[in-house]
């Protein structure tokens, strides 16, 4: 690891609210997308004459399409409840990283063009013209938000900054200013089928490599099937699971679970990506296009169940939006969605999270876990933001907190939660979500991870925790990269199904 070009926050084991330092992160900018990247997903290549009015028009259009945006821009009273809730504010001290101030970057423009007081008395209500200076602030600070929704938990009106950030990014894209990282990936997934741009044959190679590895390791021929028509389960997982560490360990875990339970399953080369960066970028159409590949694959392969691997934002999109976007779910009364819903087996939730599937198998005795196999691990669990505040597991509210923890406890003997106020609905984002998982935002990522790193330090120092269990591909990549800045060993990062993989008894049940 090269020496960082910025100051890494000192860990204290608890979280302090810093004094504001205006402009602290002003200059930090993510790389912009070039014309080719922009045009590939249907946006103008660059800013052109008259972009200001175009941006205002786009805002007006979105205000009519999104109640969230309309209500949230009106309702804020500047009470300050959210000001100390964002991990990027806590880590950077830049006041424009306070949720309300981040929202205000757009609210100021909204007031100027869409409200009477803003048209008449802009200074009085803090309204601003749409200028290049404002746009620069938008670009900088709307890419220092991971859309984690922590602020929305604490707002008395439920104002969700993620909605504003998404809208702002959509407005910027529509005038030709996009972010390289997110938009390049959105192009790849729509062209090739996954965010990595890994074509089908390469994927098949990789999977057969896993089959050899697992057999060498366990003596059991665990399969990693792909494009198998008539399989019961279609597994859709983040493509990082195919090549990145520690992600791969969880993929091996899913395969072992299906093997041990005797469930026929398949991956799809057409839909080899659970991640959906359309969410980050705020475009309903792009998000729908990406999700459509999963519908197509499910129809093509004739599967009965759709299961999603460990990925936070993907689970939000799958759980909360798939039914809306493409009909993956139940309860539709329209022909379009019913086409798929008639095929699916509704004795299972559709779609299901892999943790729901595995825990259910454990409870029914369909798979057996040997907890002692994980006895060298003292585990804590990081609630991923999108799972915690944008989705659910199981059939009761808060199941998304209970089910992964039950699964960890079923797989291992030693577990300690991090401090209250840093877990469950109050969890801190890893600092790399929402399209920020790129090296050009390393300063934002490292600083934004400091609240989580502080809470982690507490359980490491006081309970000897040596394993941070995750259910999100972005969290896994982010923590392996940034935790070393804080003196933690990156090998402490892993998936919940990595624990399952270690504990599962293959061939015990016949």
């Amino acid at each position: 690891m090269a020496a960082p070009e910025f100051e890494v926050p000192k860990l204290k084991g608890f979280i302090e609210i810093p004094q504001i330092r205006p402009g602290a992160m002003q200059g930090v900018k993510s790389f912009e997308a070039n014309e080719k990247i922009q045009q590939a997903i249907g946006y103008p290549g660059k800013l052109e004459e008259g972009w200001e009015q175009k941006a205002v028009n786009k805002m007006g259009e979105m205000l009519k399409k999104y109640r969230s945006l309309q209500v949230f821009l009106d309702a804020c009273v500047h009470c300050g409840a959210c000001t100390d809730k964002c991990h990027y504010y806590l880590g950077t001290s830049d006041p424009k990283n306070m949720p309300v101030a981040r929202q205000d970057l757009m609210r100021q423009v909204y007031r100027r063009y869409f409200t009477l007081p803003g048209k008449l008395f802009p200074k009085l209500v803090g309204a601003r013209d749409m200028t290049k200076e404002v746009l620069d602030d938008w670009y900088s600070y709307y890419h220092q938000c991971s859309e984690c929704r922590r602020c929305s938990v604490y707002c008395p009106y439920g104002i969700d900054t993620a909605e504003i950030t998404m809208a702002a990014r959509e407005v910027m894209d529509s005038v030709g200013l996009g972010q390289k990282y997110t938009n390049e990936i959105l192009g790849k997934v729509q062209r090739i089928g996954n965010n990595l741009g890994m074509p089908g044959p390469a994927l098949e190679d990789t999977l057969s490599g896993f089959e050899e590895d697992v057999e060498a390791d366990t003596g059991v021929a665990v399969k990693f099937p792909i494009d198998v028509k008539g399989a019961e389960v279609l597994l859709v997982t983040p493509s990082a699971d195919f090549f990145a560490e520690p992600h791969v360990e969880s993929l091996i875990g899913y395969a072992k679970v299906f093997h041990a339970a005797g469930i026929s399953w398949t991956l799809s080369s057409h839909a080899s990506e659970a991640g959906n960066f359309g969410l980050f970028q705020g475009s309903y159409e792009n998000m729908r296009n990406v999700a459509m590949r999963i519908r197509d694959a499910a129809l093509e392969l004739g599967v009965k169940r759709i299961v999603v691997g460990e990925c936070g934002h993907a689970w939000r999109v799958a759980y909360s939006f798939w039914n809306t976007l493409t009909g993956v779910g139940a309860g539709a009364d329209d022909k379009y969605a019913q086409m798929l819903q008639k095929q699916l087996d509704h004795s299972y939730p559709q779609p299901a999270h892999i943790c729901e599937v595995t825990l259910d198998l454990v409870k029914r005795g369909a798979i057996v876990l040997d907890k002692e196999a994980n006895d060298d691990r003292i585990i804590t669990f990081h609630d991923s933001c999108n799972v915690s505040r944008g989705s659910r597991m199981g059939n009761i509210p808060g199941g998304q907190f209970i089910i992964p923890r039950e699964l960890i406890r079923a797989s291992a003997n030693h577990f300690h939660d991090m401090a209250p106020g840093t877990t469950h609905e109050a969890t801190f984002c890893c600092g790399g979500g929402g399209g920020l998982l790129t090296d050009d935002l390393m300063e934002v990522r490292v600083k934004g991870a400091s609240p989580r790193a502080n809470a982690l330090k507490d359980v490491v120092d006081n309970h000897g925790v040596n394993f941070l269990a995750l259910i999100c591909a972005i969290c896994k990549s982010q923590f392996t990269k940034v935790l070393p800045y804080y003196g933690f060993n990156m090998s402490m990062v892993g998936g919940v199904h990595q624990l399952v993989s270690t504990a599962i008894q293959l061939g015990a049940k016949q």
């Binding site: 300050g80 803090g126 809306t324 559709q350 509210p397």
Partner: protein, 244 residues
């Protein structure tokens, strides 16, 4: 009875203020209800039934649940102000009803002293705008003006309740006269005139200011949606067009 210019001015002011308030807020509510929420975005964990959502909204409205989780100072000041305001407003119904409704008579003493709660809450909220650097940073001139306006309304009203009583009989006759279009003279008491002018100003700015948080909270998708996206399909009309 001859009508003074003052009475005429205030009568017209209140008709105008009421009209702007009702039409303005009505229009905002129309806009909010007409604008679709294309995606399921309740902040989870969220209720999985409609009645659960009603309970969640009720806790937000009456207990300020999210604010309680967030910041105890803002919660206590905010709650003092809003609860105080509610009692004060309820007490004011006595000027618009003849005979006065039973429950309004009952809360009369509470309504009087609730004004202290209201003003104390406002002072607390205003102090935060100066004392907490983060809140100071986000405060605009209009944020301060709004607090000044509410405080001035509270203090001018309290002065009449506790220090220098106005001619309450004539005032009530004026208020009832406005309602029944049988105009009666308004007492020319400076405190009363200030108080009424500020109230009318508040009514006028309501639909174009952050006071829209009052109707807005009912339409917040993160709070009013049921968490059931897997069980039933949620589709906005403009989104359904994409499937054609």
């Amino acid at each position: 009875m001859g009508m003074s210019g003052l009475t005429l001015l205030y009568a017209l002011l209140f008709y105008l203020a009421t009209l702007l308030l009702v039409v303005g807020v009505g229009y905002r509510i129309y806009v909010y209800s007409r604008t679709p929420a294309p995606l399921k975005i309740p902040t989870t964990p969220a209720p999985i039934t409609r009645s659960g959502v009603v309970m969640r909204m009720a806790r937000e409205l009456f207990l300020f649940e999210s604010l309680f989780k967030s910041n105890k100072w803002i919660w206590i000041f905010g709650w003092m102000f809003h609860f105080g305001l509610f009692l004060v407003l309820a007490r004011h119904l006595r000027y618009f009803t003849q005979p006065v409704w039973g429950w309004v008579v009952l809360i009369q003493p509470f309504g009087k002293y609730a004004s202290f709660l209201m003003v104390a809450g406002l002072l607390g909220l205003w102090a935060r705008r100066f004392l907490v650097d983060r809140v100071r940073y986000i405060s605009t001139p209009s944020d301060h003006l709004m607090l000044a306006l509410l405080l001035a309304i509270g203090l001018s009203g309290m002065s009449m309740s506790f220090l220098d009583h106005t001619d309450i009989i004539s005032l009530k006759a004026f208020a009832l006269g406005l309602m029944y279009f049988d105009w009666q003279p308004l007492p020319a008491d400076p405190l009363l005139l200030v108080h009424l002018f500020l109230v009318a100003s508040l009514m006028i700015v309501f639909p174009i200011s952050k006071l829209l948080h009052a109707p807005g909270v009912f339409f917040s998708p993160t709070r009013n949606q049921v968490d059931n996206p897997r069980e039933s399909r949620h589709l906005a009309p403009w989104a359904a067009q994409l499937e054609k």
